[in-house]
Every structure is written in C-alpha cells, then in structure tokens.
Symmetry: C2
Subunit: 405 residues, 2 copies
C-alpha cells in the first residue's frame, strides 16, 4: 500500500524511518500488505538522502497519484497544510497528522470533510506525541461521562520546571539547558508561554466533549513568572508547580478550559511526571481517575503515533472511523474566572494580620530566607474573580492555581 509523507522534518523523517524499520512486522497488522513510502513532499533539498528519488516539491504529484491512498501530514503550521489536507480528503485519500496547530484551528472542517468523503482523518500524534490518548478517550472510556481532564502537555516547560524544582536552577538557566539539549527552540515563546499546551487542550476538549474548542477560547498563561521562591514555598506545602492544561465539564453546552501553572500535590500521578515527559489524567464518572504517561514529543515517539494511524487507515480503507466533533456555540467555553472554584497559592508583600482580615481560612507556607514583609499562603476554595476582589490593594507577587487532580 502506497503512502506519502508531507514535510520531511523531525517527525516526517521519523515516519519514514519507523515504516522502514518495521517493514517485517507491519504487514501482519494490515492483512499481509506492505506499506511503501512512495512520495515525500518537501520544498527543501536533501542531497544524499537515501530517499532522494521519492522527493517532490509539487503537491500535485501526491494529490494526483491514484495509488497513494494514505498521506501523513507532518508539515506543521496551518498553511499550506490546511489547503493540502482538504484537497487530499476531497480526493478520497485518508490523512493522518501530527500537526496540533492545524487540528486545533481547523479540525472541525477537516473531520467533516473526511466524513463527507468516506475517508479517515486521524490525529493521534497531534496530542501527547507518542502517548496513546485519543483512542483511549474516545473508545475505552466511552461508558463514562468525562468530568475533567488535566494534562502536562508540553515537554519543554516540564523539563524547565523539573530543573527548577530538583536542581534549584533559575528559569533562565533551565531554559538555556533546554535549548542546549534541543528540547526548546531558539525562540521558546510557543512553549514557555503555553501556546503549544493550549493547542493540545483544544484537541482534547474537542474530543472529550464533542464540540470544537479554538485556541482563542482558552485562557493561557505560561511559566515565565514562576520563580524559585514560588517553587520553594510550594515544596514546603508538599507540592510541585506544573504547567497544566485543564478542562472541566460544566454542562452539555458549556465547559471551562485553561492553561496555566498549577500546584499539584505530591501523591497525584501528575506530580511524578518529570523532565520532558507528558501525562494526561482523565476523570470519568464511572472509572475515576486514569492517567496516560509517556514521551510527549520527540522524533520516533511522535512518528510511531503517526504510523499507528497509518496502520489503522490501512486496515480500514473501506470505512470512516467513527469519531469527530461538531461546532460549539460562541459561549461554549465559559469564563473560568467567574465559574470554577479552587484554592489558590498567593505570594504577596503583606503581613498575616492583613491576610487574616480578608481570608477566613488560609494555610501559610514558608521558605528559607523569607523576608519578614512577605507572606505566602494557600487560600480556601473560591473563584479567581472572588480572589481578585479580596486581593484588591495587596501588593501581590504571584498567584498560582491549585489543582484537585
């Protein structure tokens, strides 16, 4: 069976590698056929690459090749990936993707196009790299009403936070090491500001609750405001700071979804997720908490998820996979600040008397070298708007949500 790969970067070249290195075992999974990479689309040249004969710069070479039934889109970005994918689906080809930006922005249209054309658009690699999450969420947990999801969805920020927590490194030092190791890009904005995690939250929310959630609907805060002082206070409370994507079911017609640093208490499965690893915790009304852990990025892990989707397409050439989602109303994602109650970590220039005059119940935290005019505490459960109201006039240094996962 002939497949094409669009985008020969880290993931795309990994896809070719995984297909070739598993050529002995893949046929038994797809009824005896072999997978053959017939075309690779990339605008760059790769002189000396053993697949040189397969390269093309012309998308039409793939679109018009009737023998190519499955295409892996590992280009990244919305354009031209959207245009290419749409044309392929309309031409009756199945597409599998690792492109979270595209799925988060255009998943609704693309899944609809796949359905209308009787082909598959599979997206396992677009969330959590190699971690199986989409089939577990849509199939294995089908008998549950999902109450909420919390995920460590970005390896770069989790690596930085791990270095801060375990090695006492500053954010800047940890970022530098992440860049040296190739975990962070030269411009680390998409990672450290939470945009990458935000896209994955959109896809998870769309899958879990059946209505498309767009990045613009998800309030997103990164980790650049986290200091070693915060890490130290939260350590004294028996917890760690993680960049979490959180999704909460409210009703058939509304959910909350946000990305932010969050205090996770030790004992949670999320607290022990370190370095570049990712994890997604799903809370179902029947099953309780289940958690999926693994490498959230990386060439071969992500490629293996892409190839698993290719295998699934190859097994089911004759039918569309039953999953997808619809459109949500304008107000589908509510303002979590006025609706979701939780405790908060607050660090401020203030004394306890002042804090006690405003908060009925707080748990004070301490750290080595704490200045006498600084307090840090965990509040009672309230909405973020209620907290903001209470903190009016306070000289606040930082506020971090406390999660119940």
């Amino acid at each position: 069976m002939k497949v094409a790969v669009m985008g020969y970067g880290t993931v795309g070249s990994g896809v070719v590698e995984v297909i070739e290195s598993h050529s002995d075992t893949i046929p038994q999974k797809i009824g005896g056929e072999t997978l053959e990479v017939a075309r690779i689309l990339d605008l760059r040249d790769f002189p000396g690459d053993p697949h040189e004969a397969l390269f093309t710069k012309d998308f039409n070479d793939i679109l018009n090749d009737k023998e190519i039934k499955i295409v892996a889109e590992t280009m990244g970005g919305v354009n031209p990936a959207f245009d290419f994918t749409m044309k392929l689906l309309k031409a009756g080809k199945s597409v599998v993707t690792s492109n979270k930006e595209l799925v988060a922005q255009k998943g609704l249209e693309l899944l609809k196009a796949a359905e209308e054309n009787g082909v598959n658009y599979l997206i396992e690699a677009s969330v959590g790299g190699g971690i199986p999450i989409i089939r577990p969420l849509t199939q294995c947990l089908a008998a549950n009403n999902i109450e909420g999801i919390a995920g460590i969805l970005n390896g770069t920020t989790n690596f930085i936070l791990t270095m801060m927590i375990e090695q006492g490194m500053s954010f800047d030092e940890a970022l530098k090491i992440a860049q040296e190791k190739g975990y962070a890009e030269k411009d680390p904005t998409a990672d450290v500001e939470g945009h990458d995690a935000c896209r994955k939250v959109c896809i998870l929310a769309s899958l879990a609750f059946g209505k498309h959630v767009y990045p613009s609907q998800v309030e997103t805060e990164g980790i650049t405001n986290i200091s070693l002082e915060d890490v130290s206070y939260i350590n004294s409370a028996g917890g760690v700071i993680k960049l979490l994507g959180q999704i909460k079911y409210i009703s058939k017609d509304s959910i909350a979804a946000f990305v932010s640093p969050a205090v996770v208490y030790n004992g949670s499965q999320l607290a022990s997720v370190k370095d570049v690893f990712n994890a997604v915790l799903v809370r179902g009304d029947a099953v309780g908490d289940v958690c999926f852990y693994g490498p959230g990025a990386g060439k071969l892990p992500t490629a293996s998820a892409v190839v698993a989707d290719i295998i699934d397409c190859a097994k089911h050439t004759d039918r569309k996979k039953i999953f997808g989602w619809g459109a949500g109303a304008e107000d589908y994602v509510v303002d979590y600040k006025s609706t979701i109650k939780m405790p908060f970590y607050v660090r401020a220039k203030a004394d306890c008397a002042r804090v006690n005059s405003v908060f009925s119940e707080v748990k004070y935290l301490s750290r080595k070298g704490q200045p006498s005019d600084e307090v840090a505490f965990i509040t009672d459960v309230m909405t973020e708007n209620e907290l903001t109201e209470k903190l009016k006039g306070f000289e606040v240094i930082n506020i971090i949500k406390v999660t119940n996962y």
Copy 2:
C-alpha cells in the same frame, strides 16, 4: 439494542448500573440506538431488585433470544463461563468479558470462535479493570515492536505493600486492613500468591506478542515472603517493592514472562503507583516507555470497561474486530532463570568478606537495627541461575529481583 448480562455480582450489577446511568449519552455513541438490558442470568435470587423481571436462571433464555446480540459475561471462573461463551459466539452473538481467568485459560479458542462466526469477543475489562490497555497496546502502539511490559496488576497486593512501605505495617496487619476494606477476600490466596496478576500477564503477553500464554507457563511468586526488613533495606537504596508482572520479548518464537516481587527505583512511573491502583508500563522500540495508570478493579471502573466494549460491539455489529492471537509452541515461554539477566536484592546471614569473595560488584544496603551477622546488597546483572550458583552455601533470607522499568 438488547444486551444480556451473565453474572450479577459486583461487576455485573455495575454493568447494569453504568448502562442505565448513561442512557442519555450512550445513544449518541452508537448511532442513536439505546442499549437495553433485556436479561440477567444468575442462579441466585435478588428479591426486591428493581430488575427482578429480567432475571433468569436458564442460560437458554439468553442463547435463544434472537434479539439479544451482545452479552456481557461477568460470571468469573472457567466453568460454566467457557461453555456459555462458546455457545453464544457460535450463535452469532458478540460477547464482552471481565473474566480474566477464562481469557487466560481459553482466550485462544474463544477468539477463534468469534472470528469464525463473524462476531466480537472483547476483553478490555479482563486486564487492569478500568485502565484502557488493550486498544492502546494493539492499536496505538501498532508501529512499535514491543520490547517489554511491566505491570502492577493486582490492587490488593499493591495496597498491602503500600501499607508496609508507608505505614510500617507488617504483612499480616496490612492484609487484615485490606480485608476490612473489602480489597482482599477472606481467602486472599489468589491475590497474595500472585495468581490474579499471573492471569493478567498471560493476557497482556498474548496480546502484545500474538501467541497465547497460559498461567502454567508463567512462574509466579507472591508477596508473602516480603518483610518490613526488606522494605527498609530497599528504601535505603531509593526504591520500593512492588508485585510486578514482567514480560520480555526475546525473539519471534520466544518470550519470558514471570510474576514476582521486584525492586522498583523511585523515579520510575511504577514506583508512584500506590494503594489499590494499577499501572502497566509498555516499552516500545520507537515510542520508548508509555504507562497507563488507573483503578485496576472495583465495581464501576471495571463495569465501565465492560460497557465500553459493549458500545464498541454495538458500533460494529457487522464486522469482527481485528485482534486476536494464535497458539504458541510448547517452549514459547522460556525459563527466565537461565535467560534473563538482571540485578538482584539479596539478604543473608553472612559477612561482607564472604559476599566479596563471591560477588565482584555489589552495593551494600543498611537498615535500622540491622544485626551484625546480616547483610543485604544489590548484585551486579546476572541470571537467577547464576545467582543461585553463587549463593550456594549461603544462609539466604530473601532474594528479590530488581527491575529496569
């Protein structure tokens, strides 16, 4: 769509409960139809149960009801579950099961019968209760060659070990509490001797490597020999003792599989799995380590896995699911003691001089109140047979495998 439930114990009654409590959301997952529990088979009487009208003691009431297309087998045990399941499959009905004993003993025949009759035999609930593992293993990781699997597969023993590790309770005390909480049965043999974990290892191995593994092929050791002294030594080494099921790929024609206590170092995802929770770690050649965590047992978690399989059957009435396994040769599961190399924890009545004369490289451990004639150490990597040879003449108190997961 009419379904029947065979066995109205903890899981079976949970299945009925989950179907009924999700009657508003299930139809949208199976093309608009509703799931209706039409019959419940149990030899016991349940006077006053709201489903009284559905009960039958006669299996033929289900077998001969042409409208019943899907049956949940939650009876447990090999007989008569095997006979019933076989008859149902041959009658063209799909069967879903939580019965690990039956799948471990007779999965090969039953999956074959399902295939021959164009129906489904789905088994998600038979491993790891509510944890999604079977679809992730067979579908999401399809592009990987699985190198090994390690699982905490029994909640009762994990609870007992957690109490020993965290509360300093003796095995007997911890078992008593497990019994009081309903986690352990009056006769706890199947749990504490590892037989329950062994069945799950058989199913995981069969799925991952495509050939049936029987419980008699899996060397199984329980946790009754674990003492607080061992817990203490291993704590000093930065690890914990877990009851692990381990499976290792050797070649297309051979694997190793065994259940035993094992030292897991802190930092492993398996080390942080506490109380009655279960986890399965899968090591793939492309993806690396992925781990699935959740409730390994319990009424609603297990029932939710059964109902997810029912939903899958209801979506795919017209075709068989593509998964299954074949028969393995007599010597398919090798003697791990002569083939698998690993480090071991050894505790013995001896002095260091004697230990040093036999082992080239060991790491000594210590504990509070350690008698002067007792040593505990972690050996270099070797087979268990090599270790036994070296320890000839030693007064050994305990030996525990050290895992590399």
